[in-house]
């Protein structure tokens, strides 16, 4: 078991959640409650990572942040940093890659809150932020939690894009999924099988947990 890689993967997943939780809530609510011009276009773009091959996203990120040109060059000159082949780059890639996994379940959760409840709260003089904290979030939380759990698991398993924009650098971008690939290429079948089995069990747990959550929330009536 490559503990260093596992720790890195967990950190990457947690960092991704730190960013995706507010992003998901914002877009989830917005898409659930508002109608605006370009909504379907926005929804399409946000859902793209579901079908886009990770290598395509990886390629664009590599081009965008290459320190030889454009934005990457500007970042390198002004901040002395780059967003490829390091952990920060992985976090960014991971956020983009997980957008639909965060937003879509949250959007469904917010959409399932009857509008009368929110209207009643507004009529009682509650400020929109209070409505969010006291009414919407408590009602939408199973959707939010299951979105977060899916994002966490999905990040642990990310492979193509991590290899492409992260390379395979120990303690920096060598996540558990890459470490499995690496140990297969080092003929270390034992580590590969231990790590693969742990990830398999973890994925099973994750999915059963989200099913359990949705089951539970479908019994709760508002």
């Amino acid at each position: 078991m490559d503990w260093q890689a596992l720790a890195l993967s967990v950190k990457l997943s947690l960092m991704t959640l730190v960013f995706l939780l507010p992003i998901g809530i914002f877009f989830g609510r917005w898409l659930a409650y508002r109608r605006f011009i370009g909504k379907s276009l926005l929804q399409t773009v946000l859902a793209l990572p579901l079908v886009l091959p990770p290598t395509v996203l990886g390629y664009y990120l590599l081009v965008l942040f290459s320190p030889n040109q454009g934005l990457g060059l500007w970042l390198a000159n002004n901040f002395g940093t780059t967003l490829v082949f390091n952990f920060e780059g992985l976090v960014l890639a991971s956020i983009i890659f997980n957008l639909p996994f965060a937003i879509q379940p949250m959007q469904r959760a917010f959409a399932s809150i009857p509008s009368e409840i929110r209207e009643a709260a507004a009529c009682c003089g509650m400020r929109p932020s209070t409505v969010l904290w006291k009414i919407e979030l408590p009602l939408a939380w199973p959707g939010i939690v299951s979105a977060m759990v899916m994002c966490f698991a999905h990040t642990l398993g990310e492979f193509g894009i991590v290899l492409m924009v992260g390379g395979n650098i120990p303690a920096e971008t060598q996540t558990i999924a890459i470490s499995i690939y690496d140990s297969v290429q080092s003929f270390d079948d034992q580590s590969a099988s231990i790590m693969s089995f742990s990830l398999l069990m973890f994925s099973m747990l994750t999915i059963s947990f989200t099913y359990w959550l949705s089951e539970r929330s479908s019994h709760t009536h508002v």
Binding site: V18, G72, A76, N168, F187
Partner: protein
């Protein structure tokens, strides 16, 4: 909630700061096991550590061009290092530290006959015994280029082409063969001699004149710090040379 956020942020960046002190070295997959042994000795002798990232030399060259955090590069040919030198990514022109060789590798129980002229391979290709023949991807892996050259030299390229499987790098080509997924492969001598492969596979060393010399080269990159410079020198000393020759590398 705010505290949890802060804790995650702090923990992550603290961890990264610790890791950042250990230099990252980019190395061709062919030198993996030899370099692991050398790095271990290096740490024992100097109590300094290095992190090593393995891939095909072409792939690593691209990562270096794209701003990868590497301090030193070990390539399986000198061509990629010349290219990086011309792009001002290296401190100097680097050195050739060893010469690599190719072997024909098969699984231990394989019935394919091992010989220097690949007559057994030709036979097995014709009678359908050899369905998958592994080489590294010649587009970005130097050992793949050499493998292609060997097949050309022996007039087997056209015959073997439909049966070739390309490894992402030479270690993957070796893995294809050692697992039995490919019935034979053209693999680096250095991997064939690795203890983990020795008891699962058999091989025969191919004549060096069947391909262009595989000049194993290394160079310090612009970001090189003290530890990398020490490691660069260490690789040229007797102890490292002995390990390299144990893995089938000859002196340049």
């Amino acid at each position: 909630m705010k505290k949890l956020y802060l804790a995650i942020l702090l923990l992550t960046f603290n961890h990264l700061a610790l890791a950042a002190e250990i230099p990252v070295i980019a190395a061709a997959a062919s030198v993996k096991f030899a370099l692991q042994d050398i790095a271990q000795e290096f740490t024992r002798d100097t109590s300094k550590k290095v992190r090593i990232s393995y891939s095909s030399s072409g792939n690593l060259t691209r990562q270096i061009q794209q701003g990868g955090p590497f301090e030193m590069f070990l390539s399986a040919n000198s061509h990629y290092i010349d290219q990086l030198y011309q792009q001002h990514k290296t401190l100097d022109q680097g050195v050739i530290y060893a010469l690599g060789r190719l072997v024909l590798l098969t699984h231990k129980n394989s019935k394919i006959q091992l010989d220097e002229n690949l007559a057994g391979v030709k036979q097995a290709l014709q009678d359908g015994q050899l369905k998958r023949f592994a080489i590294a991807n010649p587009i970005h892996a130097p050992y793949g280029v050499a493998g292609k050259e060997v097949l050309h030299s022996l007039g087997l390229w056209e015959l073997s082409r439909p049966n070739l499987v390309l490894g992402e790098n030479i270690a993957q080509a070796a893995q294809f063969t050692s697992s039995g997924a490919a019935q034979a492969g053209l693999i680096s001598y250095s991997l064939a001699l690795a203890p983990v492969l020795k008891n699962r596979t058999q091989f025969i060393l191919l004549p060096a004149n069947l391909h262009q010399p595989l000049q194993q080269s290394m160079v310090l990159l612009n970001k090189a710090g003290e530890t990398s410079k020490l490691f660069f020198n260490y690789l040229q000393q007797a102890k490292a040379r002995n390990i390299l020759s144990r893995y089938g590398y000859s002196a340049p």
